[in-house]
């Protein structure tokens, strides 16, 4: 197994050197292997989202490095990070992930359009992905015509559309009911097992934690436990 994500002594301080200094991340070192299904857990303010933001190339560290595949993303400029995210990382956010004026099909296609993929490839892959997440019959529905769970499944399909190295999911089930949460986790677990897609979650949701095969617990910006199941 090869490491998809590596962080080395990753630190993120807010107001450094001042009396109100906040150490959101305080020396986080970890490796995530390809095909992992990992949950990052911890209380509010423990640094989960900050860690995901830096690994996702959305935020800058104060010190340390983060490497995705062979690329040290902490050395990339903002514009390079946008391209890197497009081609290497899939995102599923807590809510309001989708472009409201585009249909499910168009939302998924949109990522591939940004990657300049051919129309044929876009349409073929979109159909495959929506079928995989169980929404083959909702291709022409707009987000407001779908339930929260269905929207998150479209978001998963979109996250996979660019063939990313891994998918970052920030509290993906926070706004979902039990059944939708269960359906979404089933789909992600299936994609993880069948297609070896790497998933990294930040979550408070015990149902997600129960399904994860590795649980990394953060507290005060430090890893206090790393449990593989």
């Amino acid at each position: 197994m090869s490491a998809v994500i590596k962080t080395n002594n990753l630190q993120k301080y807010y107001n450094p050197g001042e009396s109100l200094e906040v150490r959101a991340l305080d020396g986080v070192t970890l490796e995530i292997e390809r095909g992992e299904f990992t949950a990052i857990v911890g209380p509010s303010g423990s640094g989960k989202t900050t860690l995901l933001n830096i690994i996702g190339g959305l935020d800058h560290e104060t010190a340390g490095t983060a490497t995705i595949g062979d690329t040290t993303i902490t050395a990339l400029s903002d514009n390079e990070l946008i391209d890197f995210r497009l081609n290497n990382i899939g995102f599923v956010f807590q809510a309001y992930n989708l472009i409201p004026v585009l249909t499910a099909q168009e939302n998924v296609e949109f990522i591939m359009l940004l990657q300049n993929k051919s129309k044929e490839e876009r349409q073929r892959r979109t159909a495959e992905l929506l079928k995989e997440v169980g929404l083959g019959d909702k291709m022409n529905s707009r987000p407001m015509e779908m339930s929260g769970g269905q929207q998150q499944r479209v978001a998963v399909a979109r996250a996979l559309a660019s063939k990313p190295q891994f998918v970052l999911a920030d509290e993906p089930t926070a706004n979902l009911d039990s059944q939708s949460t269960s359906d979404l986790l089933d789909i992600m677990a299936e994609l993880n097992q069948k297609e070896n897609v790497t998933f990294l979650f930040s979550t408070h949701d015990q149902r997600v934690i129960d399904r994860a095969r590795r649980v990394i617990t953060l507290e005060d910006g430090k890893i206090i436990s790393d449990e593989k199941r």
Partner: protein, 405 residues
């Protein structure tokens, strides 16, 4: 997809889009209407001047403009002058012989401007027949005069009365004659209405002892926009040591100044209108940005470049403006068309003020398509300038902070 995205985005908040489109619609509507009426009025003024005074282009002997005496007249049979009528852009060329004279009738006297002209041609040029208050226009071989209304009022003249004229003719010859009044005419031009007396060209040449001569040729063009071209062509084909070719703008700089001064007032009004609309459009963009910061954050996060993101917002702004501007032009066109065919006639003090300036108090709307395209372009430019604000916001947008919005 970006175009599709932008187009659908503008219909996300239909009410806001409708308000924005309406503000652009009314801006273009009022701007085009105001400007059409203004330029239509200027066009009418220019047309009057061109027909009654100089023509679009005037050809006269060199030196005549600075010293308008009969000694600075020219021979009409000069072969060079064929170039005027042979120019394909020339619709009409009217020879005129003008000179000042002392007129008399009964115990009264008055200085008048005597204009020798071809009645048939000038009727077409000045549309004289409807302006004749009494009598009939003289023929080319008649020995009679057509008197301006105020001159006739001064002398209490009626058709058939006789007037006496004394003047100095060509090369100082003594000019004196008496003519019956064949008609009384009302000119809209105050200057002409107070002192013009017209008579046939042949009789004018006889009166002034200037056989075969004229003081000017008023040239009317089929397409006034080709005026500069014709001036250049005539200047090139005529001997400039003998002749001078002038556009009406050169001949009547005071009219150009009057139009510019009045036009500046109109432009200030338009600027105020556009400023109000610009703030409205800017307000819409501000709301749009505030409402969609989270969405922009998501789009940046998933890898949409800032330029592409701005392009979508830019296209939204362009689409909204285009809809409003096109509807504005479509909406105002029937009104402009109506006032083009049925010019608004001023009454009361406003009409008197315009009449005092020598113009007709009617406001026809101009149908010049460049008015609509200009104002569409102005709102488009405003829209493009406003779109720099989202460009600035998107350039600075941090996806993490945006998603916290």
């Amino acid at each position: 997809m970006l175009i599709k995205l932008a187009w659908r985005n503008i219909w996300r908040n239909k009410r806001r889009t409708a308000i924005t489109v309406a503000s652009i619609f009314f801006a273009v509507f009022f701007a085009v209407f105001m400007r059409s009426m203004q330029l239509g009025f200027y066009g009418k003024m220019i047309d009057s001047v061109v027909r009654f005074y100089s023509g679009h282009v005037q050809v006269h002997a060199k030196g005549y403009w600075d010293d308008q005496i009969l000694d600075n007249s020219f021979e009409l049979n000069d072969p060079e002058l064929k170039a005027i009528r042979e120019n394909p852009n020339v619709e009409m060329a009217a020879n005129r012989l003008e000179g000042f004279a002392l007129s008399s009738s009964g115990d009264l006297t008055k200085g008048v401007l005597m204009i020798g002209m071809d009645p048939e041609l000038e009727d077409r040029l000045m549309d004289l027949e409807p302006k004749i208050q009494s009598g009939a226009l003289f023929g080319a071989n008649d020995r009679s005069v057509m008197v301006a209304e105020k001159v006739a009022e001064y002398y209490k003249l009626a058709v058939g009365d006789t007037m006496v004229f004394i003047s100095q003719g060509y090369h100082g010859v003594s000019a004196a004659a008496k003519y019956p009044v064949s008609s009384i005419v009302r000119f809209t031009s105050l200057v002409l209405n107070e002192r013009a007396v017209m008579f046939p060209m042949k009789e004018a040449q006889n009166f002034f002892g200037a056989e075969g001569r004229a003081t000017s040729v008023a040239v009317i063009l089929g397409n006034p926009n080709k005026m500069d071209k014709v001036v250049n062509e005539l200047t090139a084909s005529l001997d400039t040591s003998k002749y001078e070719v002038m556009s009406w703008e050169e001949a009547l700089p005071e009219l150009v100044q009057a139009i510019e001064a009045d036009g500046a007032g109109g432009l200030i009004m338009l600027m105020i209108l556009y400023m109000v609309v610009s703030f409205g459009m800017f307000g819409t963009v501000l709301m749009l940005i505030q409402e969609r910061v989270y969405e922009f954050g998501v789009l940046l996060s998933i890898g949409m470049g800032r330029l592409k993101l701005w392009t979508v917002v830019f296209l939204e702004s362009i689409f909204t403006t285009l809809i409003g501007a096109v509807l504005g032009v479509i909406g105002v066109y029937p009104l402009v068309l109506y006032f083009n065919h049925n010019p608004y006639e001023l009454t009361g003090p406003a009409a008197e003020a315009i009449l005092d300036q020598g113009w007709e108090p009617v406001l026809p709307a101009s149908l010049d398509p460049s008015i609509a395209t200009t104002h569409m372009l102005i709102v488009m430019v405003v829209s493009i300038l406003i779109a720099f604000y989202p460009a600035f916001i998107i350039r600075k947008l941090n996806p993490v902070e945006a998603r916290r919005n």
